[in-house]
Structure formats: C-alpha cells, structure tokens
Point group: C2
Chain length 129, copies 2
Amino acid sequence: MFKDVDLVLVGHGSVLPYNEELMETFRRKIERRRLFRSVRIAFLQRSKPSLEEVLEELAATSPGRKVLVLPVFLAKGTHTLKDIPEILESYGENLKIIYGEPLGADDRIVDVLIDRAKATLMAAADGET
Amino acid sequence: MFKDVDLVLVGHGSVLPYNEELMETFRRKIERRRLFRSVRIAFLQRSKPSLEEVLEELAATSPGRKVLVLPVFLAKGTHTLKDIPEILESYGENLKIIYGEPLGADDRIVDVLIDRAKATLMAAADGET
C-alpha cells in the first residue's frame, strides 16, 4: 500500500530494556502487515539505534526516498514538538521526510487501559481468596 | 462493576499542556463507563495534581478504601518500576493500594499506530497534488 515508504518508529528510549522490547514488538507487528518498504525503530535517548543513526543509514542507502517518522509517544510534548523536529531538519536534503502525530486519546487506548484495570483487580481479588 | 474502587491514572506530566489534556480525556472517557467509584488523574512531574496530592486526598477522605493506581505509560521503565512504587509505599497504611501495569504491546495500539501512519501519508499525498 505504501511500498515506496520507509517507516521509522521513534521511541523515547530507556536505561532499562522494556522500551526497546516494546518498540521491537511494534516494529515486528507492523512489518508483518506488509504496508511499508521497511519498518525500523529508533530512539531519542539512551537506547540504540538513535534517530540520527537510522536517518543517516537511510540517507546513505536510499537517498531521496520517502521516510515516514512516527513518534511512538502517547501525547504531544517537548519530545515530539521540539526534539524530533530538530533532528529531522538536518536530514531534509537527502530524504523526503514526512512526520506523523503521537497516539493521542484514541478510544482503543481507553479500552486497553480498562482491560489493564480489570485484569489487575481480578488478579488482586484472586490473591485475597 | 468495581464500585468499591477509586481509579487513579498516573501520567508522566509535562511543561506543555498536551499530556494533561490527554490524561483528562482518558479520565472522562473511563468515568463515563461507570465501572469505578471515582476516576482521577495524577502526574509524576511538572503537571498537577501530583500523585502524592491525590493519594493524600484519598487517604483523608476515604481512609482504608481500595485505590487502583494505573500507570498511563507505554512501557515498563524507571517511572513505573521505581518512581511510582516509591511513592505508593508511603500510603500503604491508609489505603489499600493496588498497582497495575502499563499499556504494553497491545494489538489495538499497533492498529492506532498504523492509522496514524496512513492518515499522515494521505495528508502528505493531498499536499503534493
């Protein structure tokens, strides 16, 4: 469907492994849908590869191609409005960068929150009996 | 369904208003389902009220009650494994605190990511024509 687009999912990054694991799971699940030319992950802080590293590699191997950079953040904030755009500016000459929006207040995320709440309370109730 | 439980959604907090707006939207949408005694939001950093403030208020007005603290974070990390549990420890005597898990790699979040990607690419294509 978007076979001319390389997708880069950008996560926050962490000293712990969980953010990387989550991002890799998202990457794999999106890759399986075969919508994009490629699906990569990149991070702002601590975790590797950095967003700069991924964009440099794409600029070197696929100059001039369309790259969709999607922030894997819940809300807009300093990271999505300032940090990521500042990095993207440096690569505009060699790649056609398109920048997306964070997840936002989608009802499907509300459903996930309610499922997490229910599961936690069910487990706590089991522990009491 | 869980009418004996006060739900506290804990967000990261931000100097910008978007994290608060997102959390308030989640709060309102969950409140509408009428599953919990009450639904509140609280923050770790910068935004108000803080998690401490919300737990103090609950301990004062509803001592001994069940409080489900749900981290509104994508992945486990320092905030969910260290910062929040350290705060919760101080309120264990006055409230029955139950602590939940972050959102994680749910397929519904993958669907939201793909929708964000498609919408961004459609808008970019419209801009080109």
